[in-house]
Amino acid sequence: MNHRTYFDVEGDDRSALGAQVGRQRARVTERLRDVQRVVAIVSGKGGVGKSYVTVALARALARRSAVVGVLDADLQSPTVARLLGAAGPLRVADEAVHPASGNDGILVVSTDLLLDDGRPLAWRTTAGETHVWRGAAEAGVLREFLGDVAWGTLDVLLVDMPPDTGRLADLATLVPQKLSAIAVTIPSDESARSVHRALSAARDVSVPVLGIVENMSGYSCGTCDTIGPLFTGNAGTRLAAAFDVPLLTRIPFVARGASNTWLPAALVDAIAPPIAHRPPATE
């Protein structure tokens, strides 16, 4: 073969796939223009309470008069819509999808609002080899959740991440300027190893980490102030030292009387400085 190649041919590339992708990115940037910060709640493993922390943090911030949105990036196991009492349908108007409104006026978008009860995330396609394109498809949904939703003016958009570490890189690509992360762990050594990977992943894509939350850090019966042991280990302290970030708080597992609106003030303060000009709302 002896013929010209792509860059030799000077005519327009009508498909211009690169430009189409560029416009998608620009759409995300424009849509998040009035969002002060985007905070991903990460862990690198399941079962540590990311969604609990996300919801509790969202409600605590909202009760300090912050305008808060929550994007559920755990597309396959979405929970925050239910936890925040948000329900569909999602309104489509003015060339955007409008988020559902949950407790304390928190704006929510989640695949939980799109899927039939009890049904997993599945794709309308006759194409096989799902493993080849599923990751790209999920990244496409995440991009649209950011770029096609009328988030409006927010003090903070919290993103409840899935257990895997790869989605943070997708998010960092789409929101390179405003993104930071909070890592959630439980005290155990196993959790420390997984969350360490998640924190390394955040560092690899230059996402600043605001700090560590150690969840299920001891056990409270809910009737007295005593905190007893639950898991062995000190993952929160170790991770904070290893990555030179603050251990924001330890949250005990409360057997009775637990409230998903309670969080230590230190954690809320880690997010709150941008909204400190507002007076706290009355509980």
Binding site: M1, L90, A93, E95, T111, W123, R124, T126, V149
Partner: protein
């Protein structure tokens, strides 16, 4: 991507694209010098790969709609979205489907069946029609211009 007519050393121009409904994709190009035409034919997996990127071969002819890919690709609730109406506004109950209408719906290619079902469901709800029958489907198809659905 660009297509080059090697004999003429001329870039071919995009003519048309088709998605016949079996998950495949076709795009045709022609040489403006000699008139030779070629078609690029993609199998379902290749078509899906391009679709997941939210891009279109040959360029976009229509503006991208909000959550366009998600709404096309995710197999979800028929009533997940409410077009141009308040989410709190009362809507008619979800219509039931007669067995005849259900059977007819199975003839729609699987990858668009959910979207087609939603179109008919929305049509019925907007008109407070309690049951979707083949006659209602015919009426909707005529009013909404849904040939082939």
């Amino acid at each position: 991507m660009k297509f080059l007519c090697i004999d003429c050393d001329t870039q071919m121009t995009f003519e048309d694209r088709q998605q016949p409904g079996d998950g495949t994709f076709a795009a045709s190009f022609a040489c403006p010098t000699c008139g030779r035409r070629v078609a690029m034919l993609a199998n379902p997996m290749e078509t899906q790969l391009v679709s997941t990127l939210g891009v279109e071969i040959g360029g976009r002819t229509l503006d991208e709609q909000p959550l366009e890919f998600t709404r096309k690709a995710v197999a979800g609730r028929d009533d997940a979205f409410a077009e141009d109406s308040s989410p709190t506004a009362p809507r008619a109950p979800r219509p039931v489907w007669s067995s005849d209408a259900e059977e007819r719906l199975t003839r729609v290619p699987g990858f668009v069946r959910g979207m087609v079902k939603k179109i008919y469901s929305d049509y019925a709800r907007d008109r407070s029609i309690a049951e979707i029958t083949p006659a209602i489907m015919d009426r909707a198809r005529e009013e909404l211009g849904l040939e082939g659905m």
